[in-house]
């Protein structure tokens, strides 16, 4: 099967470097699948599950923020944070969700705090959603 070069770079370091057959990411405009031979393309990323298909195997990751770019057939994913399903700390995500829900439920929360808590809640949900692919 045709392949393309894929690199996933985060501020924490390189998460993936190699070839892949298909990449699915959530951009701000919705889910996008990138296949070999894609035209030059840049889109900012939203928050969501990302699926990398390499050597016939699917790998799932929680991908948050940043952007994806395709140039000369090389695909670069530059998320603010990217965790493979197996690296997700489920306990931490659950605690984060509880904290966010507590903040949102509190009447005294300011607008900025509410926005931050909302984003935290979304991240926590995505991490938990992706973690279901975690090998037991």
């Amino acid at each position: 099967m045709a392949e393309f070069a894929l690199k996933i770079v985060t501020p924490d370091g390189l998460r993936y470097e190699g070839t892949a057959e298909k990449l699915v990411v959530r951009t701000t405009a919705g889910d996008v699948a990138i296949l070999p031979g894609h035209i030059h393309y840049v889109a900012p990323l939203g928050m969501g599950e990302s699926v990398v298909t390499a050597a016939g195997k699917k790998r799932y990751g929680a991908c948050i923020g940043g952007m994806v770019s395709v140039a000369n057939g090389n695909v670069t994913l530059v998320p603010a944070s990217f965790e493979w399903a197996e690296d997700i700390d489920l306990e931490r995500a659950r605690r984060s969700q509880e904290r966010a829900e507590a903040t949102l439920g509190n009447a005294d929360t300011t607008d900025t705090e509410r926005k931050l808590a909302d984003a935290r809640l979304k991240r926590a949900r995505i991490r938990q959603h992706v973690a279901r692919h975690k090998p037991k």
Binding site: V9, T10, P11, D12, G13, L14, T27, T28, A29, V32, I39, H40, Y41, V42, A43, P44, G65, G66, M67, S69, A71, N72, T76, V78, A80, S81, T112, L116
Partner: protein
Amino acid sequence: MAGISTKQIKTRIRSMEATRQITKAMEMVASSKLRRAQAQALAAKPYFETLYGVIQDIAATNRENFSPYLKATEGVRPLYVVIAGDRGLAGGYNQNVFKLVQSRVQGLQAGVLPIGKKTVEYFASRNIPAPEIRLPDMTEVTMGDCFTLSKQLCGLFRDGVYDRVYIAYTDFESVLSQVPYIRQILPLESPETERKSGPVTLYEPSSEEVFDTIIPEYVGGILYGGLCESRASEHAARRNAMDSATKNADEMISDLSLRYNRARQAAITQEITEIIAGAKRS
């Protein structure tokens, strides 16, 4: 030598040794933290380079002033994000950054957003206004905090509260040299390169939107990068300061030991002389 008893010298040597042990330990802690900070700074680099490359590309292939982040401003209400340490005992590390910022904000209606306990203390005592953004201590600032801060800064900039945003941090040149540095983050300096006739790139939903979405990420990236550099610099500065403190202590200990031995020798000589003198008389 007269006047100081051997006992007094002995006490001073002991206290010196205790000090030396502390400075030595601090030096070792700083070197191990330095290694970690260096690795972190290195890991983050490709991320910013990629983001920066895309931003430059978009800016180069678009008409002028399509984004509020590219608009040139006068710089009458600048904001300085100052990154320095939580603690002292790191040579001139903190003071070097403060002095540089102080020389820039003199006589201007500038705001300073301090990061690090020492920074907060310094600028609070000089009554320089800070925007109301709460941040954890320098050692506890995470990447998430940087991105949150970046969104807030971009908001303040777009609303015109500040018309320029700078970051002041310490550049980690090498283990031996750390240089305080001020860098403009907003507005983005327009790239010099002319419109390239490269392959057409598809921007989704639009190049303007991609640009305006990526900018806060990029600014967050610069903040995080500055933080990593500053952390590495702090540890390197502390390591160097503690290294020279240890060397000084070594020197003083050897000096004092010499004096102690001389004093001891003199006491023995005196005692022998006294005994001999006493023996002759009897």
